[in-house]
């Protein structure tokens, strides 16, 4: 049966999966999508996974799916779920293996015409200084004690050692540090994997791009974010906690498997394994997850330092002259304890954002002061051949999605399907013809990350704008790409 027959259409962009769809669902699921996008989800497990999430103890509101939803493991990617802290659960699968995978945008004072003549050199320098892919070595070698400090301090650890500006911390979600990180809850294996990979981008869909602003939709917000209009060059990158976070997740999936038996939690999918937030297992996971999140913020901070150095080196201009201000850093694989309103009452919930970002609106106390009038920036990468967006959270997101929105385009084709579709197409050459210089560890694999593998992120953004969950601010197109 088609999802269109099962879902209840609320309006053009909202579809409800009723609570009686599946036994064990404690709340309905709500999918933000238009009809065309729902049709893309036929034959995929993503909506079924949103239903599975609705069975988790303590879930309140609805199990939410953003329009970039796609098939994950356990949670759908693009899923948001809030659990009551008193009797709800925390699920490592609701955060994902790459704890605090996220994105950053850095502005420059450069115009496209300034960068064009040195673009290849700049892309090569960025590829060296912020290495993607297998075997990439970071610029920092930490000892064990330093790593333990970094897990607790996050981005601040880097800034205090000169890798970044103190003002950077103002524009990182949670100031680049989750409190209550617990190094004792982190395994030796996670430490070893982290030490080897700090300062690297990784493979798969992680990337670093040189982009040019090509459209501004909201001038006031764009100005607040440091965008001065079309033609401006910005840097956009996406990476997470590398092997460190993956090991933490893997370690705690095992802990949670024991926990579900201990706490008698019934689950439709083992990958949803979880424990009560207030249990020793839940607390240990949240402490280790915070360490993983802090590792990721430190990682992105270190990479930011490397990007600034690369730009100074290749342009021959000073740091002051180049600007290189951080616009924002937002996480899209994370669980956060937050205060929200539910049915007119304040509640404390653990919001799982698995492939979804925070999108707090104007006036919210957790929005950095310099953005308080407009809301905090939402960074939405598209694919490497088209465009990415900056957006902003809305009041409606606070009431409907726990202040959350999408995190990207979302894949529509597997790697194999993309390669078959694009057999014989030289993607690097096609991109060069579009004016995009790409440097990849293996150019033959670029088809796996080509535009054809992804939804059009403009559709994703438009659905959220029509649904009132976010408002778009600006669109940027890539001119230089580094990939693993």
């Amino acid at each position: 049966m088609s999802w269109l027959d099962i879902l209840t259409q609320i309006d053009d962009y909202r579809w409800e999966l009723p609570q009686d769809y599946k036994s064990g669902m404690r709340v309905p699921a709500l999918i933000f999508a238009d009809r065309a996008m729902l049709e893309q989800l036929e034959g995929d497990q993503a909506i079924e996974q949103a239903a599975n999430v609705a069975t988790l103890p303590g879930i309140v509101g609805r199990s939410l799916a953003m329009p970039d939803i796609h098939w994950g493991y356990g949670f759908p990617i693009g899923g948001v779920a809030a659990m009551r802290v008193e009797d709800g659960v925390v699920s490592p699968g609701g955060v994902g293996f790459d704890i605090n995978c996220g994105t950053r945008v850095i502005t420059t004072t450069l115009r496209e015409e300034d960068v064009r003549p040195i673009l290849r050199e700049l892309v090569n320098q960025l590829y060296r200084d912020a290495p993607p892919g297998m075997g990439g070595k970071g610029f920092l070698r930490l000892n064990r004690q330093e790593l333990d400090e970094l897990m607790v301090q996050g981005a601040r650890w880097m800034v205090e050692r000169g890798y970044g500006d103190p003002e950077d911390l103002d524009v990182i979600e949670s100031h680049g540090c989750l409190a209550d990180a617990d190094p004792d809850a982190v395994s030796e294996r996670a430490r070893q994997r982290g030490l080897a990979q700090l300062g690297t981008i990784g493979s798969g869909n992680h990337f670093l791009e040189v982009q040019v602003v090509d459209q501004v939709f909201d001038e006031e917000a764009a100005r607040a974010f440091g965008l001065d209009g079309p033609g401006q060059v910005v840097i956009f990158f996406h990476c997470g906690s590398r092997g460190f976070g993956h090991q933490v997740c893997q370690d705690y999936l095992r802990v949670m498997e024991t926990a579900i038996a201990k706490y008698q939690i019934e689950l439709p999918d083992k990958q949803l394994a979880c424990a009560p937030i207030s249990s020793p297992e839940g607390k240990a996971y949240l402490g280790a997850m915070a360490a993983g999140a802090n590792f990721a913020w430190a990682n992105r901070q270190g990479i930011t330092h490397q990007i600034r150095r690369a730009l100074v080196k290749v342009t021959g201009r000073s740091r002051d002259d180049l600007g290189l201000h951080l616009v924002y850093d937002v996480a899209h694989n994370i669980a956060k304890i937050e205060r929200h309103r539910l049915n007119g009452r304040e509640v404390t919930v653990c919001v799982h954002r698995k492939g979804a970002t925070r999108a707090f609106p104007a006036g919210h106390p957790d929005v950095p002061e310099r953005y308080r009038q407009v809301g905090h920036p939402v960074l939405v990468p598209g694919d490497m051949g088209r465009y990415s967006f900056l957006a902003v959270g809305t009041e409606r997101a606070m009431t409907e999605t726990w202040g959350s929105t999408c995190h990207g385009a979302g894949r529509v084709r597997s790697r194999g399907a993309a390669k078959r579709l694009l057999a014989g197409v030289n993607i690097a050459q096609r991109m060069e013809e579009q004016g995009i210089i790409v440097r990849a560890q293996n150019p033959r694999d670029l088809a796996e990350e080509a535009s054809e593998a992804y939804k059009d992120v403009a559709n994703v953004i438009d659905i959220l704008e029509h649904a009132g969950i976010s408002r778009k601010v600006a669109r940027m197109r890539p001119i230089g790409v580094t990939k693993g």
Partner: protein, 143 residues
């Protein structure tokens, strides 16, 4: 007979990547799953057998052993930079695994990496079963 099928092939998934591996014995299927996991990440042809690592594990089930076997290799790749091309599972019971792997340190000058870097082994879609008189295992990775 299981011989007509490839020893391993990609398991297609929208966001992640996986492997379906087969073998006349379960031990052989486990070894082939490991080879498949590396074939996703780089060209195996360029890897020389300069280093050998032994893996010995205990676990509560074949599923847990399969996950831990592959995780052990991921750990060696992440921390020592080793990539492997040949695998021998010498002992495999319901609760124990002993195996060896041969390969060398990854060298971007000589080795051709793919865009996929396996970071974790998921339980989603995990299957171990019999097929055509042999064994079939299916595993999905986080990449």
């Amino acid at each position: 007979m299981a011989t007509a099928r490839p020893r391993y092939e990609p398991l297609e998934h929208t966001a992640e990547a996986g492997i379906i591996a087969r073998g006349a014995t379960l031990a052989e299927a486990f070894a082939n799953a490991a080879e498949g996991m590396y074939a996703l990440q780089l060209e195996l042809d360029g890897i020389e057998e300069r280093e050998e690592r032994e893996v010995a594990l205990e676990g509560e089930s074949p599923e847990a052993l399969l996950i831990d076997w592959l995780l052990e290799l991921i750990f060696l790749t992440d921390t020592e930079g080793l990539v492997f091309r040949r695998f021998l599972v010498e002992e495999l019971s319901e609760t124990r695994l002993r195996a060896r792997a041969w390969g060398e340190r990854f060298d971007p000058e000589r080795h051709q990496a793919h865009n996929v870097g396996v970071k974790a082994v998921t339980r989603h879609l995990l299957e171990i079963g019999r097929e055509d008189g042999g064994y079939r295992v299916q595993v999905l990775f986080d990449i």
